[in-house]
Protein backbone atom coordinates (compact mmCIF):
# COMPACT_ATOMS: atom_id res chain seq x y z
CA UNK A 1 0.00 0.00 0.00
CA UNK A 2 1.55 3.26 -1.13
CA UNK A 3 0.88 6.12 1.32
CA UNK A 4 -1.37 8.79 -0.15
CA UNK A 5 0.92 11.52 1.16
CA UNK A 6 3.76 10.26 -1.03
CA UNK A 7 1.52 10.35 -4.10
CA UNK A 8 0.32 13.85 -3.26
CA UNK A 9 3.90 14.93 -2.70
CA UNK A 10 5.09 13.53 -6.03
CA UNK A 11 2.20 15.11 -7.94
CA UNK A 12 2.67 18.47 -6.26
CA UNK A 13 6.42 18.45 -6.83
CA UNK A 14 5.99 17.70 -10.54
CA UNK A 15 3.29 20.38 -10.76
CA UNK A 16 5.59 22.80 -8.97
CA UNK A 17 8.50 22.13 -11.33
CA UNK A 18 6.20 22.68 -14.29
CA UNK A 19 5.00 25.96 -12.78
CA UNK A 20 8.62 27.06 -12.43
CA UNK A 21 9.19 26.21 -16.07
CA UNK A 22 6.18 28.21 -17.25
CA UNK A 23 7.17 31.21 -15.16
CA UNK A 24 10.93 31.21 -15.68
CA UNK A 25 11.60 30.13 -19.24
CA UNK A 26 11.02 32.48 -22.13
CA UNK A 27 11.10 29.95 -24.92
CA UNK A 28 7.57 29.19 -26.17
CA UNK A 29 8.26 25.52 -26.90
CA UNK A 30 9.75 24.87 -23.48
CA UNK A 31 6.83 26.70 -21.87
CA UNK A 32 4.47 24.29 -23.64
CA UNK A 33 6.53 21.36 -22.33
CA UNK A 34 6.21 22.75 -18.82
CA UNK A 35 2.44 22.85 -19.32
CA UNK A 36 2.58 19.11 -20.00
CA UNK A 37 4.45 18.71 -16.71
CA UNK A 38 1.68 20.60 -14.91
CA UNK A 39 -0.99 18.31 -16.36
CA UNK A 40 1.08 15.23 -15.49
CA UNK A 41 1.34 16.32 -11.88
CA UNK A 42 -2.42 16.69 -11.70
CA UNK A 43 -2.83 13.25 -13.26
CA UNK A 44 -0.61 11.65 -10.62
CA UNK A 45 -2.77 13.14 -7.87
CA UNK A 46 -5.97 11.99 -9.59
CA UNK A 47 -4.63 8.44 -9.99
CA UNK A 48 -3.55 8.42 -6.34
CA UNK A 49 -7.00 9.46 -5.19
CA UNK A 50 -8.50 6.79 -7.39
CA UNK A 51 -6.21 4.24 -5.74
CA UNK A 52 -6.93 5.47 -2.24
CA UNK A 53 -10.70 5.69 -2.61
CA UNK A 54 -10.92 2.45 -4.60
CA UNK A 55 -13.00 4.11 -7.30
CA UNK A 56 -12.27 4.46 -11.03
CA UNK A 57 -13.54 8.03 -11.03
CA UNK A 58 -10.07 9.52 -10.59
CA UNK A 59 -8.68 7.55 -13.52
CA UNK A 60 -11.57 8.68 -15.71
CA UNK A 61 -10.89 12.30 -14.86
CA UNK A 62 -7.22 11.73 -15.62
CA UNK A 63 -8.19 10.33 -19.04
CA UNK A 64 -10.11 13.52 -19.73
CA UNK A 65 -7.12 15.57 -18.57
CA UNK A 66 -4.93 13.67 -21.06
CA UNK A 67 -7.46 14.45 -23.81
CA UNK A 68 -7.27 18.14 -22.91
CA UNK A 69 -3.47 17.91 -22.97
CA UNK A 70 -3.52 16.49 -26.48
CA UNK A 71 -5.87 19.21 -27.70
CA UNK A 72 -3.77 21.89 -26.03
CA UNK A 73 -0.54 20.57 -27.51
CA UNK A 74 -1.95 20.42 -31.05
CA UNK A 75 -3.48 23.91 -31.02
CA UNK A 76 -0.52 25.36 -29.14
CA UNK A 77 1.92 24.07 -31.69
CA UNK A 78 -0.18 25.30 -34.56
CA UNK A 79 -0.12 28.75 -32.95
CA UNK A 80 3.65 28.55 -32.38
CA UNK A 81 4.18 27.62 -36.02
CA UNK A 82 1.94 30.42 -37.27
CA UNK A 83 3.68 32.89 -34.98
CA UNK A 84 7.10 31.68 -36.04
CA UNK A 85 6.18 32.17 -39.69
CA UNK A 86 5.18 35.76 -39.00
CA UNK A 87 8.01 36.88 -36.74
CA UNK A 88 10.82 34.31 -37.08
CA UNK A 89 11.18 34.14 -33.31
CA UNK A 90 9.74 32.26 -30.36
CA UNK A 91 10.80 34.42 -27.44
CA UNK A 92 7.84 35.56 -25.36
CA UNK A 93 9.36 38.99 -24.90
CA UNK A 94 8.66 39.64 -28.56
CA UNK A 95 5.00 38.67 -28.15
CA UNK A 96 3.92 42.27 -27.67
CA UNK A 97 1.98 42.86 -30.85
CA UNK A 98 -1.35 43.28 -29.07
CA UNK A 99 -0.10 45.63 -26.37
CA UNK A 100 -2.28 48.71 -25.88
Amino acid sequence: MIPINAVFGLGLVVFFIGLFGVLFRKNLVIMLMSLELLLNGVNVILAGLSYRLKSPRGSIFAIFVILMAVAEAAVGFALVLAYFRQKQTYDVDDLRGLRG
Partner: protein, 168 residues
Amino acid sequence: MIAQAVFCFFGGLAVLCSILVITQRNAMRSVLYLAFTVLSIAGVFFTLQAEYLGAIQVLVYGGGIVVLYIFVIIIVNLKEMTPERRKLFPRIFIFAVPALLLVQILLVLFGNRTALPPGTEAGLGFPAFAEMLLTTYFIPFEIASVLLLAVLVGAIIIARRTLLHDSH
Protein backbone atom coordinates in the same frame (compact mmCIF):
# COMPACT_ATOMS: atom_id res chain seq x y z
CA MET B 1 6.90 -3.39 -0.21
CA ILE B 2 7.99 -3.98 -3.79
CA ALA B 3 5.25 -1.63 -4.96
CA GLN B 4 6.63 1.07 -2.68
CA ALA B 5 10.16 0.56 -3.97
CA VAL B 6 8.98 0.77 -7.58
CA PHE B 7 6.92 3.85 -6.77
CA CYS B 8 9.94 5.54 -5.18
CA PHE B 9 12.15 4.65 -8.15
CA PHE B 10 9.76 5.98 -10.80
CA GLY B 11 8.79 8.97 -8.69
CA GLY B 12 12.39 9.98 -8.14
CA LEU B 13 13.14 9.50 -11.83
CA ALA B 14 10.13 11.65 -12.76
CA VAL B 15 11.17 14.47 -10.45
CA LEU B 16 14.79 14.38 -11.60
CA CYS B 17 13.91 14.36 -15.29
CA SER B 18 11.29 17.08 -14.92
CA ILE B 19 13.90 19.33 -13.30
CA LEU B 20 16.17 18.59 -16.25
CA VAL B 21 13.35 19.46 -18.69
CA ILE B 22 13.13 23.04 -17.50
CA THR B 23 16.84 23.60 -16.95
CA GLN B 24 18.23 22.43 -20.30
CA ARG B 25 19.25 25.14 -22.75
CA ASN B 26 18.89 22.90 -25.79
CA ALA B 27 15.23 22.27 -26.62
CA MET B 28 15.86 18.85 -28.14
CA ARG B 29 17.40 17.61 -24.90
CA SER B 30 14.41 19.01 -23.05
CA VAL B 31 12.13 16.92 -25.23
CA LEU B 32 14.07 13.76 -24.51
CA TYR B 33 13.91 14.42 -20.77
CA LEU B 34 10.19 15.11 -21.17
CA ALA B 35 9.84 11.65 -22.72
CA PHE B 36 11.70 10.19 -19.72
CA THR B 37 9.42 12.05 -17.33
CA VAL B 38 6.27 10.94 -19.07
CA LEU B 39 7.30 7.30 -19.18
CA SER B 40 8.32 7.26 -15.52
CA ILE B 41 4.97 8.81 -14.61
CA ALA B 42 3.40 5.96 -16.55
CA GLY B 43 5.35 3.65 -14.23
CA VAL B 44 3.87 5.51 -11.26
CA PHE B 45 0.40 4.92 -12.71
CA PHE B 46 1.10 1.20 -12.97
CA THR B 47 2.12 1.04 -9.32
CA LEU B 48 -1.09 2.89 -8.43
CA GLN B 49 -3.09 0.14 -10.18
CA ALA B 50 -4.27 2.51 -12.90
CA GLU B 51 -3.16 0.22 -15.71
CA TYR B 52 -5.37 1.72 -18.39
CA LEU B 53 -4.16 5.19 -17.52
CA GLY B 54 -0.55 4.04 -17.71
CA ALA B 55 -1.10 2.46 -21.11
CA ILE B 56 -2.80 5.61 -22.41
CA GLN B 57 0.04 7.66 -21.01
CA VAL B 58 2.65 5.59 -22.86
CA LEU B 59 0.67 5.60 -26.11
CA VAL B 60 -0.53 9.20 -26.19
CA TYR B 61 2.29 11.04 -24.46
CA GLY B 62 5.26 8.84 -25.27
CA GLY B 63 4.10 8.04 -28.77
CA GLY B 64 2.16 11.12 -29.81
CA ILE B 65 2.95 14.31 -27.99
CA VAL B 66 6.71 13.79 -27.71
CA VAL B 67 6.96 13.05 -31.44
CA LEU B 68 4.89 16.18 -32.12
CA TYR B 69 7.33 18.22 -30.05
CA ILE B 70 10.29 16.78 -31.93
CA PHE B 71 8.69 17.59 -35.29
CA VAL B 72 7.95 21.16 -34.26
CA ILE B 73 11.48 21.69 -32.97
CA ILE B 74 12.87 20.40 -36.25
CA ILE B 75 10.50 22.67 -38.23
CA VAL B 76 11.21 25.87 -36.32
CA ASN B 77 14.90 24.94 -36.00
CA LEU B 78 15.30 25.94 -32.38
CA LYS B 79 18.75 27.20 -31.61
CA GLU B 80 20.36 28.01 -28.30
CA MET B 81 18.56 30.93 -26.80
CA THR B 82 20.17 34.16 -25.77
CA PRO B 83 20.49 34.58 -21.99
CA GLU B 84 17.11 35.26 -20.49
CA ARG B 85 17.00 38.49 -18.52
CA ARG B 86 14.01 40.01 -16.77
CA LYS B 87 13.11 43.25 -15.05
CA LEU B 88 12.90 43.52 -11.27
CA PHE B 89 9.14 43.38 -10.74
CA PRO B 90 8.52 40.26 -12.87
CA ARG B 91 11.45 38.64 -11.12
CA ILE B 92 9.94 39.30 -7.68
CA PHE B 93 6.62 37.99 -8.97
CA ILE B 94 8.02 34.78 -10.39
CA PHE B 95 9.85 34.07 -7.16
CA ALA B 96 6.97 34.98 -4.87
CA VAL B 97 4.23 32.90 -6.51
CA PRO B 98 6.11 29.58 -6.39
CA ALA B 99 7.39 30.34 -2.87
CA LEU B 100 3.85 30.89 -1.59
CA LEU B 101 2.71 27.76 -3.36
CA LEU B 102 5.58 25.83 -1.77
CA VAL B 103 4.44 27.00 1.66
CA GLN B 104 0.94 25.80 0.82
CA ILE B 105 2.29 22.43 -0.31
CA LEU B 106 4.28 22.00 2.88
CA LEU B 107 1.21 22.87 4.95
CA VAL B 108 -0.82 20.28 3.04
CA LEU B 109 1.86 17.62 3.36
CA PHE B 110 2.85 18.09 6.98
CA GLY B 111 -0.14 19.80 8.56
CA ASN B 112 -2.75 17.74 10.35
CA ARG B 113 -5.89 17.44 8.35
CA THR B 114 -9.00 15.38 8.40
CA ALA B 115 -8.56 11.89 7.09
CA LEU B 116 -10.09 10.93 3.79
CA PRO B 117 -13.17 8.79 4.05
CA PRO B 118 -12.65 5.12 3.29
CA GLY B 119 -13.55 3.94 -0.19
CA THR B 120 -17.06 2.75 -0.75
CA GLU B 121 -17.26 1.76 -4.38
CA ALA B 122 -15.79 -1.63 -5.09
CA GLY B 123 -13.33 -2.45 -7.79
CA LEU B 124 -10.43 -0.73 -9.50
CA GLY B 125 -10.14 -3.03 -12.47
CA PHE B 126 -11.03 -2.67 -16.10
CA PRO B 127 -14.71 -3.68 -15.85
CA ALA B 128 -15.62 -1.07 -13.25
CA PHE B 129 -13.58 1.54 -15.10
CA ALA B 130 -15.14 0.80 -18.48
CA GLU B 131 -18.63 0.61 -17.05
CA MET B 132 -18.33 3.97 -15.34
CA LEU B 133 -16.71 5.60 -18.35
CA LEU B 134 -19.40 4.42 -20.74
CA THR B 135 -22.42 4.99 -18.51
CA THR B 136 -21.94 7.81 -16.00
CA TYR B 137 -19.41 9.73 -18.07
CA PHE B 138 -20.77 8.87 -21.52
CA ILE B 139 -21.76 12.41 -22.52
CA PRO B 140 -18.39 13.97 -21.57
CA PHE B 141 -16.72 11.14 -23.47
CA GLU B 142 -18.65 11.97 -26.64
CA ILE B 143 -18.09 15.70 -26.18
CA ALA B 144 -14.36 14.97 -25.89
CA SER B 145 -14.42 13.21 -29.26
CA VAL B 146 -16.12 16.25 -30.82
CA LEU B 147 -13.46 18.43 -29.18
CA LEU B 148 -10.69 16.36 -30.73
CA LEU B 149 -12.28 16.69 -34.17
CA ALA B 150 -12.53 20.44 -33.72
CA VAL B 151 -8.90 20.56 -32.61
CA LEU B 152 -7.85 18.61 -35.70
CA VAL B 153 -9.61 21.03 -38.02
CA GLY B 154 -8.52 24.10 -36.09
CA ALA B 155 -4.87 23.10 -35.91
CA ILE B 156 -4.75 22.46 -39.64
CA ILE B 157 -6.35 25.82 -40.41
CA ILE B 158 -4.09 27.76 -38.03
CA ALA B 159 -0.90 26.08 -39.18
CA ARG B 160 -1.63 26.46 -42.90
CA ARG B 161 1.07 28.09 -44.90
CA THR B 162 -1.32 30.35 -46.82
CA LEU B 163 -4.41 31.98 -45.46
CA LEU B 164 -7.84 30.91 -46.55
CA HIS B 165 -9.63 33.32 -48.85
CA ASP B 166 -13.23 33.52 -49.87
CA SER B 167 -13.81 32.12 -53.32
CA HIS B 168 -16.29 34.82 -54.29
